[in-house]
């Protein structure tokens, strides 16, 4: 049990996927201008990544590894993730319209979110077993959501402030992200 807690803390704080591992930065900058979009994106990533982690891990264990097809992993994973996202979209639209209204517009963007593909690949690379994979597929996107929502809060304040001309918009956002990343780097001593 202790191992799982350690893995979760490591995935959420110490190896935060956005600020330390640099994955998923396009949606990080794209959806952090408003708190609502940031929350929506964070929820959608948690939802899809938990599913994608399980499905890709099973694909790897059942098809790719026994058949020696690891070299086409990239193609298989991206197709699986794209199909899964499409499926989730159709399923939510039909059965849970309330959730679809919140997450709908973010779902198509998730296929090209490198955080999703990245965590699926990390799961394989670190040779996690099923339970470890489950913890990591939930903890990494939780870390993504934490960083994204904190960052959206900061960015909403920055828009009010007076920023020098050339630094406006993305530039100041990246510098802010840098200082956030610095504070996350402080968690390094925890484990």
């Amino acid at each position: 049990m202790g191992d799982f807690i350690l893995l979760a803390i490591s995935a959420i704080l110490v190896n935060n996927i956005l600020l330390i591992q640099y994955l998923g930065n396009c949606p990080f900058l794209g959806t952090s201008k408003k708190m609502e979009t940031a929350t929506g994106m964070a929820m959608a990533v948690v939802f899809v990544l938990a599913l994608a982690g399980i499905v890709t891990w099973i694909f790897e264990a059942v098809f790719l590894k026994p058949l020696g097809l690891e070299y086409i992993r990239t193609i298989v994973f991206i197709v699986v993730i794209a199909a899964l996202v499409q499926f989730v979209e159709i399923f939510l639209k039909k059965n849970i319209p309330a959730l679809y209204a919140g997450l709908g517009i973010f779902l198509p963007l998730i296929t090209t979110n490198c955080a999703v593909m990245g965590v699926c690949l990390i799961n394989i690379k670190e040779e996690y077993n099923f339970l470890e994979m489950l913890v990591s597929s939930i903890a990494y996107p939780a870390g993504f959501g934490l960083a994204l929502i904190l960052f959206a809060g900061l960015r909403e304040r920055i828009i009010i402030g007076r920023v020098p001309g050339p630094l406006q918009d993305v530039s100041i956002a990246l510098v802010t992200a840098g200082f956030m990343s610095l504070s996350f780097l402080g968690f390094k001593g925890m484990i």
Binding site: C114, G118, P166, A177
Partner: protein, 202 residues
């Protein structure tokens, strides 16, 4: 016609240079620019995928139905990424290990999908090749420049791409500014370079 192809090529070097003008594909930009050798290696790999996928998308643009075009583009891109993965394992294994999961992640790099969608699927073959090459070379230059700044300050060295040579820039009393090669330095450095580009552009 010849003039427009040159223009398609050169626009990737300044007007639309990723990731500064087109703020896309940031993950590799931040992650692999610790050393110049890694940055340029990544740039070359991405350029290869970009040019090849632009060629194929442009050739198939009339036969791909528009409803399923994005999945088709993704499969085309993924195929070339696998090619790059296998070739790199064979000829540049140390670089392959250094870049790690960022090689398979070229497949979700928005620059490549963006060019397939915005350019290659609407333009004839020669223009698409020029566009892919231009954006790819621009991306490589950008990665190399950013990596140069980070490596020079963060480690005091410049590593020459595609060889094992490492040039020492400063004398023995130099204290490396490690902030630059850590994650926060990547964000701050890119943010400041972006600000400089904005300043130069106006």
């Amino acid at each position: 016609m010849a003039k427009t192809i040159v223009q398609e090529f050169t626009k990737g070097l300044w007007e639309e240079i990723p990731p500064f003008r087109l703020v896309l594909g940031l993950c590799p930009v931040l992650a692999v620019t610790k050393t110049v050798a890694n940055g340029v290696g990544m740039g070359v790999a991405a350029t290869f995928v970009l040019v090849c996928s632009n060629i194929l998308v442009s050739m198939l643009r009339k036969s791909i139905p528009s409803q399923v075009r994005v999945p088709c583009f993704i499969i085309i891109i993924a195929t070339f990424v696998v090619v790059v993965e296998l070739v790199m394992q064979a000829v540049a294994y140390p670089l392959f290990l250094q870049l790690g999961i960022f090689i398979p992640l070229i497949v979700v790099n928005c620059i490549i999908l963006g060019r397939a969608e915005a350019f290659a699927s609407k333009n004839p073959l020669p223009a698409s090749i020029a566009d892919g090459l231009g954006i790819g070379v621009g991306f490589t230059i950008a990665l190399g420049a950013l990596a140069g700044i980070r490596e020079a300050f963060g480690a005091g060295t410049i590593s020459v791409p595609f060889s094992d040579t490492v040039i020492q820039l400063f004398g023995p009393s130099f204290q490396p500014f490690t902030f630059m090669v850590e994650a926060p330095g990547a964000f701050v450095c890119l943010g400041l370079v972006l600000a400089l580009m904005n300043l130069a552009g106006k």
